[in-house]
């Protein structure tokens, strides 16, 4: 695949086939941890790393993986990678690890990862699979960060609280704008509302784009579509 093709692959994951916004995969961590920007960022990066490495490994071994044993092999590869990532987080980002809690090990069950292994990595060369992993992982991470930042802004009227979990150093309360926010955004229903808003926003943008593209075409062509 050419380098242009690789970039296109990444863009697909970021927008057109975004695992969270379009495929609606991996909703459990997406809804559960996005109470702050930093939490969303942490889990997003962890998922991105696991997804990229698992795509690379599955693609590298795809010649030897037989149809009958492919699922156990995916599970083995993904579970090992998640365990490694969990150990690395525990060693270098201990506070972030405690804040994300069970959701780091639960990346194993993120169906977005197994779906990419099955749909893409098992049928494509390593380069394309890595590009796909980065694109899909980054798409998922961006969504986690956006929803995390949105819920933090609305729910706590602050942003970037506990940024020290990534950088180390003294606890950082974040930039606060008001004494209290709209509490619903932090609570579980707020997660669903935020995701719904994000999906709606994406569809709206896509719709606008389609209209403007159509408007730019000659009349005859437009009718032909």
């Amino acid at each position: 695949m050419t380098s242009g093709g690789l970039i296109e692959r990444m863009q697909t994951g970021l927008w057109a086939e975004n695992p969270g916004l379009v495929q609606l995969l991996g909703l459990c961590p997406l809804l559960a941890v996005t109470t702050t920007f930093v939490n969303g960022f942490g889990l997003g990066i962890a998922t991105l790393l696991v997804l990229t490495c698992s795509n690379a490994l599955v693609s590298a071994t795809r010649r030897w993986i037989r149809q009958e044993i492919r699922i156990p092999i995916y599970v083995l590869i993904i579970a090992s990678l998640v365990t490694c990532i969990e150990l690395i987080f525990k060693a270098w980002f201990p506070t972030l690890d405690r804040s994300l809690g069970i959701f780091i090990p639960l990346i194993v069950t993120n169906c977005a990862i197994v779906a990419r292994a099955e749909v893409f990595a098992s049928r494509n060369p390593i380069g394309a699979s890595i590009a796909d992993g980065i694109g899909m992982g980054a798409g998922f991470a961006m969504l986690l960060m956006t929803i995390g930042a949105f819920r933090e802004l609305v729910g706590q009227a602050s942003i970037f609280s506990r940024l020290d979990m990534l950088t180390g150093g003294e606890p950082f309360a974040g930039f606060s704008f008001a004494d209290s926010g709209f509490l619903l955004a932090i609570l579980p229903p707020g997660a669903f509302f935020s995701l719904a808003l994000a999906v709606a926003l994406k569809n709206h943008i896509d719709h606008k784009r389609r209209i403007s593209r159509n408007a730019g075409m000659p009349r005859r062509l437009r009718r032909a579509r």
Partner: protein
């Protein structure tokens, strides 16, 4: 599929399992010292508020003493005592005990007592008290728990270790006298225990391996 392919498939599965295990084992070897150090630092850090900046040079986590129930301290779960030393002499003892009679379930309390029996700090480790009322026992939500700092048995006398409503010397939280009473009683009982058992607490050698 025939026998040969079964064997071959099994071999592939075993090989990939071996590779994955090596990967995890390698990461574990690289990270294990850092993880152990982090956990120790976290424990020491969480105990700091109850130490009120006292000087010490001993490892706190190594001096842990776990008392299994039944014991004479408050609570019917395991009580933990961390002994703190400076230049070989006892400096303070930190108690993690449970007040059983909270308004909605047990309240886990961390209490620091210096070697002369004076309270150095009180923190609430775990509770399920009513948000807005009883949860003001948390140091982050009100400064109610700070009123015990510097007090000891004798200052006030034992009967003074109660909330104002019960004729004691300490403030209660508005709308949460049950919670306040539970916390104060647990502190008082721990202080009394410390007074009678002080020498044994510091003399015992224990690392808490029996938890």
């Amino acid at each position: 599929m025939n026998d040969q392919t079964v064997v071959k498939t099994g071999m592939i599965l075993a090989l990939i399992a071996a590779i994955c295990t090596t990967l995890v084992a390698g990461t574990f070897q690289v990270t294990k010292h850092r993880i152990a150090a982090n956990e120790k630092a976290l424990l020491e850090q969480s105990l700091q508020p109850a130490l009120a900046g006292l000087f010490y040079d001993s490892g706190i986590s190594e001096s842990r003493l776990v008392l299994k129930a039944p014991h004479e301290l408050p609570g019917n779960d395991a009580a933990i005592i961390y002994r703190v030393f400076g230049e070989g002499k006892p400096v303070a003892a930190l108690f993690a005990v449970t007040a059983r009679d909270g308004f909605s379930g047990p309240i886990r309390i961390l209490l620091g007592v210096d070697s002369s029996g004076v309270v150095t700090g009180v923190r609430i480790l775990k509770h399920r008290e009513t948000p807005g009322l009883g949860d003001k026992i948390e140091s982050a939500r009100s400064d109610w728990v700070f009123q015990f700092d510097g007090h000891a048995i004798g200052n006030p006398v034992v009967t003074g270790w109660a909330i104002n409503d019960d004729g004691g010397e300490f403030d209660q939280l508005t709308g949460a006298s049950v919670t306040s009473r539970a916390v104060i009683n647990a502190i008082r009982d721990t202080l009394l225990y410390f007074e009678t058992n002080r020498d044994e607490i510091f003399a015992l050698s224990g690392t808490g391996e029996d938890e």
